[in-house]
Symmetry: C2
Subunit: 446 residues, 2 copies
Amino acid sequence: MVAPLKVGIAGLGTVGAEVVRQIEQQSRLLAARTGRAVRVVAVTARSKAKKRDLNLQDVIWAKSPLALANDPSIDCFVELMGGSGEPALSAVEAALRNGKSVVTANKALLARHGVRLAKLAEEHGGALNFEAAVGAAIPAIKTLREGLAGTEIHRVYGILNGTCNYILTRMEQEGLSFAECLKDAQRLGYAEADPSFDVDGHDTAQKLAILASLAFGTKVAQSAVYVEGISSIKPEDLRAAEELGYRVKLLGVAVRTKTGIEQRVHPTMVPRSSSIAQVMGVTNALTIDGEGVPPITLVGPGAGGAATASAVVSDIADVARGLHIAPFGRPVKRLRKTEKAPMMRHEGGYYIRLMARDLPGTAATIAKRLAQQNISIESIVQRHPNGAPEPPQGRGKRNAKAASTLVPVILITYATSEDGVRQALAAVQNDKVITGRPQVIRIEKN
Amino acid sequence: MVAPLKVGIAGLGTVGAEVVRQIEQQSRLLAARTGRAVRVVAVTARSKAKKRDLNLQDVIWAKSPLALANDPSIDCFVELMGGSGEPALSAVEAALRNGKSVVTANKALLARHGVRLAKLAEEHGGALNFEAAVGAAIPAIKTLREGLAGTEIHRVYGILNGTCNYILTRMEQEGLSFAECLKDAQRLGYAEADPSFDVDGHDTAQKLAILASLAFGTKVAQSAVYVEGISSIKPEDLRAAEELGYRVKLLGVAVRTKTGIEQRVHPTMVPRSSSIAQVMGVTNALTIDGEGVPPITLVGPGAGGAATASAVVSDIADVARGLHIAPFGRPVKRLRKTEKAPMMRHEGGYYIRLMARDLPGTAATIAKRLAQQNISIESIVQRHPNGAPEPPQGRGKRNAKAASTLVPVILITYATSEDGVRQALAAVQNDKVITGRPQVIRIEKN
């Protein structure tokens, strides 16, 4: 009989408590699947006194995460405290230096220190598993790290933040504003009191940096991620998307281009028929495009205690089985430096919504500025305030009030460069034929 | 430097040839990911003379699959011949007896001899990997075998046959008959000249048997799978499904019930909003329902040379890495006998379409027969030949011709037993208030 795997858990919040529960309740299942017993032997948390409804009487309480990481009675250190700094960082480093395996759900830590931690794991022989860091129980990490081993990956993209997808879904389905939906999300516990980490795209960026490393064999580089959040999205954008056959999602996209690897997080128009467009509410999804292989999409809960704990326990099970994979899918010395593709050289289709002054020559001015940047227009819709769309050409009659009226103009471009779009729109703004900032949403084709 | 992994491939059809190509073209990627070189050193195929556009000059041609399996110069035997019998069976057995690892895409072989082969792998220390046997490059096997290790699985279900999903998609989108769509599928190479293995559900049944074993820790038991194909589905069923908020898919469903494990393949009404309902054309998908965890759905190509080869090469990479997992996720002695839940005790909602005689008392007779079996009706739609639906109650006026008219009646039941539905419908047929066979489609809730 193989000796039991002795697990120490740092952090007993929702996920940590659920991990303890799953390991206890599923002990027979785990033993059958891994060939050895898995036991939580030690824990640590900020407050020992807090009521947790857990059976911890035979478990050692370590006095700190670091003490737990240095405790010789554990084989596997499970870090569920979060945060890219202390106490998580030192504790994980210590555990790895001690040759222990580490399981963590901490995307911030990995996005910032992933390479360094992978190197420590490699040098000291422990595993470093982090399925729960991206997409909770969706097997995103395992699929990219172990699967598709002989397939060159061109692009990975996904809905990696449930808060944003919940807000966009509500906005689309009920025609509500961003602010209203955010408030509801906060009330329901889907968004934090300070929602900026989620809605400004930083959570997605951390996850994307990890996925890009696994997909392309590059060093994790969160600073290489271009980030835009969803707070500028208006119900009218979602309505226009629907009419044009798209849906708006906050995507994290990592793609190999001729100028390097693009990593970008921004609201994105995706074809309504694509798998990713069907993903609604707090659900997450990841699509992987490999060479010659039709896309693979993984859909499921991206957060939640049980789903996250399920991923953590899976990682622990892999440690118990003795599976040992390089944390980022290949040895650290084989990870290349990320060649960051400059966002200004991004090429793709664009959705542009302008509030144009209803004056003779406005359409001609806009068209000219786009043409100067070699931007080809796939479709253009100009909507008169009464709601009926009217093409910008052929507007003959016009009453005296028209000069002060604003008309939304919606353009879809063929593939063009980010730089060209920005220059064209700056020129249009300069021409004073529009008011306010143009709304620009990138289009991602499947 | 670790010695290269020496691979022998039996079968050089579309998939085999593509595996040779991927291993050659992605040799650096594979070495980076697995830490060792992967080389095809020997092959065998029915015809050596056939033109294949492969570089095989440094490769040994074995005189038979068995000879290849016994060749001491290979570490990993890749079986891509197909078929549950010879020559695949003996060759795979020989390779495992020789302590080699085996990678196969052969669902028929695994569905029939899976337990026996797993036992051989266990006794002699080789791996037995078969990601490509179900859903090609979709990581279905890896997710069930290694992921979710601490999560009790309640149900797995999926679209596991691209031919059927292609036919149902075309039928739905274009209102065509089964026969017309089958003919098109054959013309496009999506269906075989003899399509029965696909359209009658047997292909799905073999894959389901493998998935059920992994999900529930039971011995593969293809004979325990209840199977119905899609040839009875009519465009009017698909139209009714749409009106009722469903879509019809051929699903393989394995679910733990109080009477045992149900394994069933049949046309199924799934809610239009579910992830599985969005899967169109030849695409496959698998949904996994774990305890307390929202469903996880994996979507992607279920067939095709490149996608299948990608899965095979991933499995070879796992062998190269030295990953070693019990073929069915736990040791053979821990696999339980499948307690087959009898189909007659299946419980769920039903869609029933009847061609009723338009006579006074017909509706009352049908209602009575259902009530006698304690079947509650969620909705009932009776459609007069002019097309406008009319509830069966309150039909006062009726002209003389009505007696000979047939009216389609569509019922949706609340959860009830298979046995009850069959008995009720037999009684209704006996009452001679309907003509022809009732159409019955089970409903699967998400």
